[in-house]
Symmetry: C2
Subunit: 199 residues, 2 copies
């Protein structure tokens, strides 16, 4: 339906996650119909972000600086390392205000069927960091999915002989959840990990 520069723009927008054909057309028309400077500002901010944001050489987080703000922050507990799948997850953990240690970004979860093995999750870099900095507790803040479980199991097995305490996020009912609408695996986990009310 759209051709030329407009068609090209629609094609590029369609590659974004969650943007289908109709949305891409609507966004493209919005960009060319409105204030041209606004559209150019968006183009410029994409370029700036892509050209100036890189991976922290210590923790692999996407950051404007290397080392990133968390690795450079001397006030953070150096002996705690929270392992997350991607940079976004760091901000989610930060928002809880429950953690003040450092982070490590895997970039992926293990998924042999998709060709994602130990090298694709930056495990060698993680191992270096643990050996060099003497991590006391390694918190695996990964999704409770098949890939997350494999990754947790792999990391735990590889670190068996170190003295690092390896922990993972609790599983159970989400806050505000309703038992009636909870799937049986979640409910099973919540039962298995039940704890004393007086604790």
């Amino acid at each position: 339906m759209f051709s030329g520069y407009l068609g090209e723009l629609v094609q590029q927008l369609k590659k974004l996650p969650g943007i289908g054909n109709k949305s891409a057309q609507r966004l493209a028309m919005h960009l060319i119909s409105g204030d041209k400077n606004k559209a150019l500002l968006l183009a410029e901010s994409i370029q700036n972000a892509v050209e100036n944001i890189t991976n922290c050489s210590i923790c692999n987080m996407l950051s404007e600086s290397d080392p990133c703000e968390f690795c450079a922050d001397t006030a953070r507990h150096k002996n705690f390392l929270c392992v997350v799948e991607n940079t976004q997850d760091i901000y989610l953990v930060e928002n809880t205000h429950e953690y003040h240690g450092r982070y490590f970004v895997l970039g992926n979860l293990l998924s042999p069927l998709d060709g994602i093995g130990p090298d694709e999750i930056n495990f060698p870099l993680l191992l270096d960091l643990i050996r060099k900095d003497g991590i006391e507790e390694l918190i695996l803040a990964l999704n409770p999915s098949a890939e997350g479980e494999s990754t947790i199991n792999y990391i735990a097995s590889q670190l068996e002989e170190t003295s690092t305490n390896i922990t993972r996020l609790s599983t159970g009912l989400p806050f505000g959840g309703d038992i009636e609408y909870t799937n049986s695996i979640t409910l099973g986990n919540a039962l298995k990990r039940r704890y004393s009310v007086n604790n």
Copy 2:
């Protein structure tokens, strides 16, 4: 939560229609996490589209060429002019394969409360075109909304003294619609405009 170039990118993405805070963050992370060249291609296609697409000086359609493909197409019926709100609507009408005349893009519908008067809907340009080209039928393919009705009434009143036949899209039940779920205005219109089965 996000700062610097990433924060700026999130801000710019949030300005797009239908993109909230969460979506903007997801899109921004996608752009900086994936293949950098893909993200730069998107930025480039925004720039190309914005810089190369302009309004056709005859029909006001957003187009790479001036006159646009429809105004330049001599095979189109010159005496039929279909008036639409925006460029997208042209493609929707084209997709019906029911129309082979020319188009005119108003850009807006009349909405005095939003400060959109006759000058904002390019009426002077439309009037010029009608006078110059001797339009036989002017089809007002506008939304059946309050703004659409005002615009239809305004255009019709202004052209009262010309010999142009002014028509509008039929109103009634949408194809595949269900009377049970049809609002009473639509059903009323369908009743008012009922036609003979043998027609």
